[in-house]
């Protein structure tokens, strides 16, 4: 975590007043600014400047959003899985890994919801169907639901360590399950000879400005993810610290009660 505070060092004197008011640092402020610029550029390029596709027409514009968010959602879930493994690997590691896992999963779920929404709209425009039962789409939906379940497990209560251990195990079990779901759906749909209508988004070829816009979308959403993860992870750290303080205070009260009686 020290790497991300490095940017704060040059303004620590003023930051000690400013930084105290929230989860921001000089680094995250620059990151946030870059994110805004990138997202703004994406809106302009995606909606207006970039050309419509020869085959797809205007609906290709949705793909910038859809592909951008699904990429980040996958990154987020991979980060959750890796952080969970990191937490379990050496139990003496700090709860930071657990909080990164949790924050990343929250962000992933939001991105995934946008992905599924945008994907449904795109599918409706391109192929007339909001939904299709192919391996990739179905597995993506399963991933979404599975991580909602993961977030529910994080809220089960108990100590922070219990939460960390439990949810880390659930995350790793999810990693186990996803390929199984993907494979079984793939096998299932191939029986129905629907495989050919499956991989729809890969039917689109993008080049020139369109490819650039797609790359911009990936970059912009990745910056958004990073900014968000830093802030959310810090919020979770403060929340845990407050819990601990609350517990400390309660214990202290019990002790003074014991002394008095």
């Amino acid at each position: 975590m020290t790497a991300v505070t490095a940017g704060a060092s040059e303004s620590t004197t003023t930051a000690s007043v400013r930084g105290a008011t929230g989860t921001g640092t000089t680094f995250t402020r620059w990151l946030g600014a870059a994110t805004l610029v990138a997202l703004g550029a994406l809106a302009v390029l995606g909606l207006v400047v970039s050309p419509a596709d020869v085959v797809q027409g205007e609906s290709v514009r949705i793909l910038y959003i859809h592909v951008g968010t699904v990429w980040v959602a996958y990154v987020a879930f991979i980060v959750t899985a890796l952080s969970s493994a990191a937490y379990l690997w050496k139990r003496t590691t700090s709860l930071t890994w657990d909080r990164i896992a949790g924050a990343s999963a929250e962000i992933g779920v939001v991105f995934m919801a946008v992905t599924l929404f945008a994907g449904a709209l795109w599918g409706r425009l391109s192929w007339g169907a909001f939904w299709v039962w192919d391996a990739r789409v179905t597995t993506t939906a399963f991933l979404f639901i599975t991580y909602i379940g993961y977030l529910a497990v994080r809220d089960l209560g108990g100590s922070h360590r219990q939460r960390a251990r439990r949810s880390a195990v659930v995350a790793l079990l999810a990693v186990l399950e996803i390929p199984l779901v993907h494979f079984s759906v793939k096998l299932w749909r191939s029986v129905h000879q629907d495989a050919s209508v499956g991989d729809r988004t890969s039917d689109v070829t993008l080049d020139g400005l369109m490819l650039f816009t797609l790359m911009l979308a990936l970059g912009a959403f990745t910056l958004l993810y990073a900014w968000w993860l830093l802030h959310r992870q810090r919020v979770l750290a403060m929340r845990d610290a407050l819990d601990d303080k609350g517990l400390d205070r309660a214990l202290a009260e019990r002790r003074t009660e014991g002394v008095q009686s």
Binding site: G24, L121, H231, L242
Partner: protein, 44 residues
Amino acid sequence: MEDQGFILASYVAAFGAAALMAWRVARRGRELARQLPEEDKPWT
């Protein structure tokens, strides 16, 4: 017409979710930071 509506909807959903979540995390950060002393905030 349906095309444009859907395209716009997807952008609104993405940017709207981003804005909403950003606002929420920043606000929560400020709320919590008010209640904690400096040593609990190693990033500052």
